[in-house]
Amino acid sequence: MRNIMERALRKSKAEYTEIRIESVVSSWVNFRGQELDSIGSSKILGGIVRALFKGGWGYATFNDLGDLDLRVVEAFESARLVGRGESELAEVVPVVDEIEASLEKDFRQIPLSAKEGVIEEYNTIILEYDNKVETSNVGYRDSFRKIWYVNSEGAYIEDERPDVGVVMSAMAREGANIQQGFESVAGGAGFQIVEGLQEKAETAAKRAVELLTAPPVTGGKYPVVINPKLAGVFAHEAFGHLSESDFVYENERIKDLMVLGRQVASEKVSIIDDGTIPGLRGTHRYDDEGVKTRKNYLIKDGILVGRLHSRETARKMGEEPTGNARAISYQHQPIIRMTNTYIDKGSASFEDMTRDVKLGLYAVDMVGGQTSMEMFTFSAAYGYMIRDGKLAECVRDVVLTGNVFETLMHIDMVGDTVEYPPAGGGCGKDGQSPLPVGFGGPYVRIQDVVVGGRS
């Protein structure tokens, strides 16, 4: 493969050219209700050429590897149409490296029938938990991605990226009242991480049934304590996206807002993006332009200290590349993305956070989140009201919203232990979704959070 790719590179007259080819073998098993809904496996082969000429980019993606030379020329021609300025890429030492994934239990060696067996057991646990459980949706998916990367500066990387996960969802019903409970486990690991999850299956079913009798949260402004599973999503939505430099580097006003050294959060807050934490879904040795990943502080003690870069944005902002140019597949060019984002630990205990709260909300586990950079939402799977310092009734439909320039300032307590829940899910940006990312954090207390709902 290396020879073919390096030969094709020479067809480009661009100032910089790279080729990334991927082969992905994946399989899936999905139960909905009593029956197996779908089962199968697939094989994907494809690639992308990126060419940079006079500051303009040309991309060509393809499934047919036979025309590689042609695709290189096509990418160059596109770049030439765009280029009207100067090409700028931060310098990195070209790497030659081959990475082999080592899996405790290689899911490629496990027959589909065995995968089906494991998933069927979880499905049965959910369906038999309670007669209020109406149906289920339990899905398994694995993929083994092999990447060949070469660029015109001499880099050559072969990388193997396994990803495996289970999503378990239970649906309970009483008349028109339908509630769901979710649990998921995913990671860049072997089949062993999706085994032995009987307890999680039961938890999903239990949650769905419990939520049938939980009232919707009453909308309003509350002090909110979020648990570690939610804290990571909060860090990701509330600040992570704003620190992606493609949003900043050519935007004078945002540059002013996001100037390094500015206080953007209370001094209790440190937020980190780290693509090197073993086993997490956002972890790789190199990003998709061959730059080594690393630990990047975004906020340290409330002060903006860094941001996430591609080689292009790093150069244009005079900062160091951070290894955050990522692509979900060969059909896409790398763009600036988070890897594993977490809030660093503080010194408070959970009891410290609830003790003096007269009326507040404890929000638990994540469903998802979305941001428009300034405003963001994030949703909890469920919550408990805090009344006079104690956890009170369970509530559902917990969606929180915030404003990045206010909410981070309102964090007044941060827990003393960081957790990295191995949950599934992914991030979407510019049509590239879902990208595997990791989350983490401690318990966090935030004052004056707007919680949606009826009054």
């Binding site: 496996s41 499934n63 439909d397 969606v399």
Partner: protein
């Protein structure tokens, strides 16, 4: 043809098989931060197969055109312990004609696409230099071959074209986003109208106004109607109905919405994004009235779900999802809707849709682009505001439906809809 080869190979061991080969060439030009950023061309090939062996289904797909043997083998392997089939592959059937190919798409050059983007940007810049713009123009030409072991076989060629622009205006720590886009299977797109619409959205947002928490009448602009459609799509999905997770199960013939509300699934609209003669299972497309004058008429089915539910496929395979949706216009001009509102909200775009418990109809979203009405006049934009309610309650609480249904994206034709009261929580 490759699909015949796939069927032939599969039928050596299977009792039924279906295969498709989809090939396409796509070109995108993209502007970021007021400048042309990249041009991208994509060539794609995808081959997929589904087999039935001893009454069980297995499937596989590949992008490697030389992987004919492999893809068939993997599907057969999966079928050995696959999901039970509740259907047989349909034979050849007549289908209605619908336009999905526009010969004007293929000849469009990259340079012409760049020009379209630049014209849109120039127009918005003329309104306000400070708006930072991104824009995109895309064209695609593709071909789909389909065959099954019952003798159904067809080839369809299709095109698509789209253009869009989005602006960002930063004032202090306030970041405002607004934009518009449109795409369908036809070359003809009024990109000037897309730019003008964007300008209109910015103009209405020049002032930020406060809003108090409480119950307010809410107008969903055509672009915002998807807030209501998300839950409805899940509820009308035949598979959810069969599995008991749709609140609409068992309610066909009952009133579920205001009597002025009608919605149709229509895959036979010329050039609409989800149009085509056949669905993904070789079943001829049809129009399906879902809700008529407020009465629930039908759910959407694919072959397997219809088989399980004892119903008939509506040509929504695979997955029982809608194609193009059309909500009929009502009798209230949009302007009158606004004029008659003492205090209310207009919603164009939201954040966090689908994060709550959408199947139950509950929604709780941040109003990403919305405007406040006071005494019949749009007074400005609202922000840091949460909007919450239940879709099924809202559909019964419709107070007015706009008299003009508009395209809101390439597969949705809807009027503005005004709901009596929804819960608003201000920041």
């Amino acid at each position: 043809m490759a699909v015949d080869q796939l069927i032939e190979k599969a039928m050596k061991k299977a009792q039924g098989a279906q295969a498709s080969l989809v090939q396409s060439e796509t070109t995108n030009v993209s502007f970021e931060n007021d400048k042309l950023k990249f041009v991208k061309s994509s060539q794609s090939t995808a081959m997929s197969i589904k087999v039935i062996v001893n009454g069980k289904i297995g499937s596989s797909h590949t992008t490697d055109i030389d992987d004919v043997d492999g893809v068939v083998e993997r599907a057969l392997e999966a079928a050995a312990f696959g999901s039970p089939a509740h259907f047989e592959f349909p034979g050849p059937q007549k289908a209605r004609e619908v336009a999905v190919y526009d010969s004007a798409v293929l000849p469009v050059t990259k340079e012409q696409m760049v020009d379209i983007g630049e014209e849109m940007m120039t127009l918005v810049k003329e309104y306000n230099q400070d708006i930072l713009l991104s824009a995109g123009v895309s064209k695609s030409v593709g071909k789909r071959e389909f065959a099954n072991s019952a003798g159904a076989k067809h080839v369809s060629e299709g095109t698509s074209f789209s253009a869009g622009i989005q602006g960002q205006l930063v004032r202090g720590t306030d970041i405002l986003w607004a934009g518009d886009s449109f795409g369908w299977k036809k070359r003809e797109i009024d990109h000037v109208a897309i730019a003008r619409k964007t300008i209109k959205l910015f103009r209405m947002a020049e002032k930020i106004v406060p809003i108090d928490s409480g119950g307010l009448p809410v107008i969903f602009a055509p672009e915002g109607v998807n807030v209501l459609l998300l839950a409805l799509n899940l509820g009308l999905n035949g598979k959810n109905v069969f599995l008991g997770s749709s609140p609409l199960a068992g309610k066909v013939g009952e009133r579920i919405a205001d009597r002025r509300f009608s919605i149709i699934d229509d895959p036979l609209i010329d050039y609409a994004s989800a149009s085509g003669r056949f669905d993904g299972e070789g079943v001829p497309h049809q129009t399906t009235p879902l809700v008529e004058d407020g009465i629930l008429k039908s759910f959407l089915y694919d072959l397997d779900t219809a088989g399980r539910a004892g119903s008939k496929t509506t040509g929504n395979g695979v997955g029982c999802n809608p194609t193009n949706l059309v909500i009929n216009g009502g009798d209230t001009p949009y302007e009158d809707m606004i004029k008659s509102t003492k205090e209310g909200l207009i919603v164009y775009d939201v954040l966090g849709l689908g994060q709550g418990n959408p199947i139950s109809g509950e929604f709780s979203v941040n109003v990403q682009l919305g405007y406040k009405i006071e005494n019949g006049i749009v007074v400005g934009r609202v922000k840091d505001v949460m909007l919450a309610g239940n879709t099924y309650e809202a559909l019964r609480d419709i107070v007015a439906i706009g008299d003009k249904a508009e395209w809101a994206g390439g597969s949705l034709i809807v009027p503005p809809i005004q709901i009596g009261t929804l819960s608003v929580v201000g920041g």
